[in-house]
Symmetry: C2
């Protein structure tokens, strides 16, 4: 059965478009918060402040049942209005204004209050009102400019296109610019729809994006593609921020997310299916328990599976994820460079409460005791002699191969756990503390772990999301 792309997209758009009632309710909450703040702050503070609505509610690009409300308090820049004043004076006042409501404090990149009003999250964020984005004092000061730009450039129909794109990204774990995802932010999704007009046109066009060679510059702020790429040479994709040409709205995107998005887009174009928007219904080995998947990896692939368990000391998500990603790379690089295992794979999990993290390291064929080292050409005498001296009697070889190179089969340091622990020690992460190294290949150990982690482990081992893509391909023939 062949599906029509447009009808799939229109159907999804209907499903995820918020109802008039929902929008009304959220706006009512906002109006209530706004008037409370205006009254309360004018009584408590001697500051000029503007209460504004930002975020996807302001832009009408939020998904049904999934909106929070972003309220920005805009202050005039003044020497006595600083982070410290936000934190020590403003935030307590805001809390006191809403003493009947549940709230949380957030001091991540910026101090702000999250209020729960009628089960809706309301973020109350202080920022500065500046003339132009080139004069930002804090990162959030850019937000009102983003809101304004998107509102004035997205038609009503295109807000649906943004919603479809966001929903698509969420399905495949690609939504969000934070370090845990390194995917597409909401603002980036909006810019892409502005650039391409519709979700479908975006999908059709993105297949010609080339990694590190594509610059999307909606407002033509750069003279040439080349100039643009030179400015952002380390970013896999460049989408110039229309309100701040020095910023790449896609800078957080990883090559992995970039690749997955392109792959999905290409596949959807070739083989459209509503299942792209219902991936929870794609079942892959759903009845195989994690224990079985682990056993398969240990027995079939000769895998060692280690779980590096950390206590999270400073629960700032981007910092924790940044450190976990660095650790993961350091550990896999060290193991690879020592020739341990055929393949080393790793990924990290964090619990919901942000108290514990586990990095899983899978080392395939970990029971090898020797590894091949390719040396210099034997005719490169200086280096060849150094190689021979260095490789005196530590395994088989060296020998000269048909290619004229020296090779040796070198003994591996098989104390893998120690190598991992030393690597972590060297990285000395400030927000993580290693508590133990779990042998996940051990059935009893596996029974003690967090159920959420156990489920995540299964998905890691099974190679999500590619397994779901494979399922979509099943029984199909794509003309190569």
């Amino acid at each position: 059965m062949m599906f029509d792309m447009n009808s799939i997209i229109r159907k999804i758009a209907e499903e995820i478009r918020p109802s008039e009632q929902e929008r009304r309710r959220l706006m009512d909450i906002y109006e209530h918060v706004k008037s409370t703040l205006e009254t309360c702050l004018s009584l408590s503070l001697n500051r000029d402040v503007e209460v504004t609505l930002q975020g996807s509610l302001a832009k009408d690009t939020f998904l049904r049942g999934q909106s929070d409300i972003d309220v920005f308090l805009l202050f005039q820049p003044r020497s006595d209005t600083d982070y410290r004043w936000f934190k020590e004076v403003l935030v307590p006042v805001v809390i006191s204004c809403f003493k009947d409501y549940r709230y949380t404090l957030n001091y991540a990149s910026h101090p702000y209050v999250t209020l729960y009003v009628d089960d809706v999250e309301v973020n109350i964020v202080p920022a500065f009102r500046i003339e132009s984005p080139s004069k930002i004092i804090s990162a959030v000061d850019r937000t009102p400019f983003h809101t304004k730009y998107v509102r004035s450039h997205l038609s009503i129909e295109q807000r649906d296109e943004v919603r479809v794109l966001k929903y698509f990204l969420k399905q495949w774990g690609l939504y969000g610019a934070e370090a845990s995802t390194r995917g597409f932010s909401g603002y980036l999704a909006e810019l892409l729809v502005i650039a391409y007009g519709t979700f479908l046109t975006l999908l059709k066009n993105c297949t010609s994006w080339r990694a590190y060679e594509t610059c999307i510059d909606i407002e033509n702020q750069y003279k040439s593609k080349r100039e643009c790429l030179e400015k952002f040479r380390n970013d896999v994709l460049v989408v110039v921020d229309p309100v701040d040409p020095g910023r790449n709205a896609a800078s957080a995107l990883s090559v992995k997310s970039f690749a997955l998005f392109k792959l999905l887009a290409g596949l959807f174009i070739e083989r459209p299916s509503p299942m792209f928007f219902r991936i929870n219904e794609i079942e892959i080995h759903s009845n195989v328990p994690t224990e079985e998947v682990v056993r398969m990896h240990v027995e079939e692939y000769g895998s060692c599976l280690y779980g590096l368990e950390f206590d999270i000391v400073k629960p700032i998500p981007d910092v924790v994820w940044g450190q976990l990603n660095r650790l993961r790379k350091a550990v896999t690089n060290t193991l690879r460079s020592q020739g341990i295992g055929e393949v080393v794979r790793a990924d990290s999990w964090i619990d919901r409460a942000l108290t514990k993290a586990i990095t899983v390291v899978e080392i395939i064929y970990c029971n090898k005791r020797y590894t091949l080292h390719r040396g210099p050409y034997a005719y490169d005498v200086h280096n060849a002699l150094r190689f021979l001296i260095k490789n005196k009697s530590i395994g088989m070889g060296p020998w000269i191969n048909d290619d004229g190179r020296l090779y040796t089969f070198r003994m591996i340091d098989t104390n893998i756990v120690k190598i991992i622990m030393d690597t972590i020690l060297r990285c000395s992460p400030t927000s993580l503390r290693l508590t133990k190294v779990l042998d996940l290949g051990n059935r009893e150990t596996l029974q003690t772990v967090d159920p959420g982690f156990k489920e995540w482990l299964r998905s890691f081992l099974e190679g999500d999301p590619i397994k779901k893509i494979m399922k979509l391909l099943e029984d199909s023939y794509l003309d190569p």
Copy 2:
């Protein structure tokens, strides 16, 4: 203890220089053969023929106790004087001239008779007397020109230098241009001494030879190095034949032999020792039997060791070796491309009688059932989808790595013996017939093999000649 290079070389030169008595005796044999031939041929044949001395005796570059005598019968080119006439008329006549002597017939690239006179091999080779090497009819017609060139360009002192070089090459298995060695021919050794003056100067200068980028053109027959290299672009080293500029005297040299020679030269310069000329005295694990070495490889490196046993159907050494080398490459390439084993090593042995050949294939960590395949970048949508379709459910994965590429862990075809046999079948060698595939890791099988092969196997597994080089390095410190 530090040795002086010159004194080592002078000492060796003394040892290997033939005595006056030996030279006299060989010349006497030659004179006897020559006069017998002159008389006998003039009686039996109606052809103008010149009996000449060629080879290392003629050039006085032979080693003590190691000379055979090359006698060339030079005929005028004539339509009725062809290979067939050589074979059917001349050779029987030559044999009849020496009916009291033991002889063998050789029909390799050229029909000739080898006579055993007083335990000395005398090769009687028919060839054509031509005006210039550009007009050769048979490959051996060039020989008289080589002899003349070398005789007129080597001083008496330099003949010693050639001998030392030849002896050095023999020690390390680098002497001979035939397919079994792919090393340095005697003529090449002579040219190198002519080019560099002495053995030591050659060693000192060869360290600056660069693979595929060195052209030694003694007579400056090419306008530029570039022109020379373009002409011989597939040869690792070019030594233009002074008597035939279209020919590279080093064309048979393999990159492996080239590499080993440079390595040895560099090492001798850095650490001169008489042991370079006495490598049979360098003992490496001499008391470990082959069985033990095999056991070590099987148990420590997880090796499978196969011996592909061939009957030699047509015993022409260069053809057999050429086919063995091709087979060996085909087998290792096939196994590697299928991801079988961590490392595949192979080499071949032929018995002295030229009746049987065994190619040994060592597959390290051969018990692996899966192998890593690196696919295209996931953002290269067309190829990524093809890769996904191709790799449906045949092992672990595919997954997207941090580098944005697709990887899969693919099941290996573990019927190694069948893969090897299919590959040999595809090559269909004309001079070899596969008789069986031996499992050399099996102790009982190992006990049934030829003792010469068993000794050779030990040396193959232990990585000669690098093991001997390592021994020379032992207890030494070479400033890197």
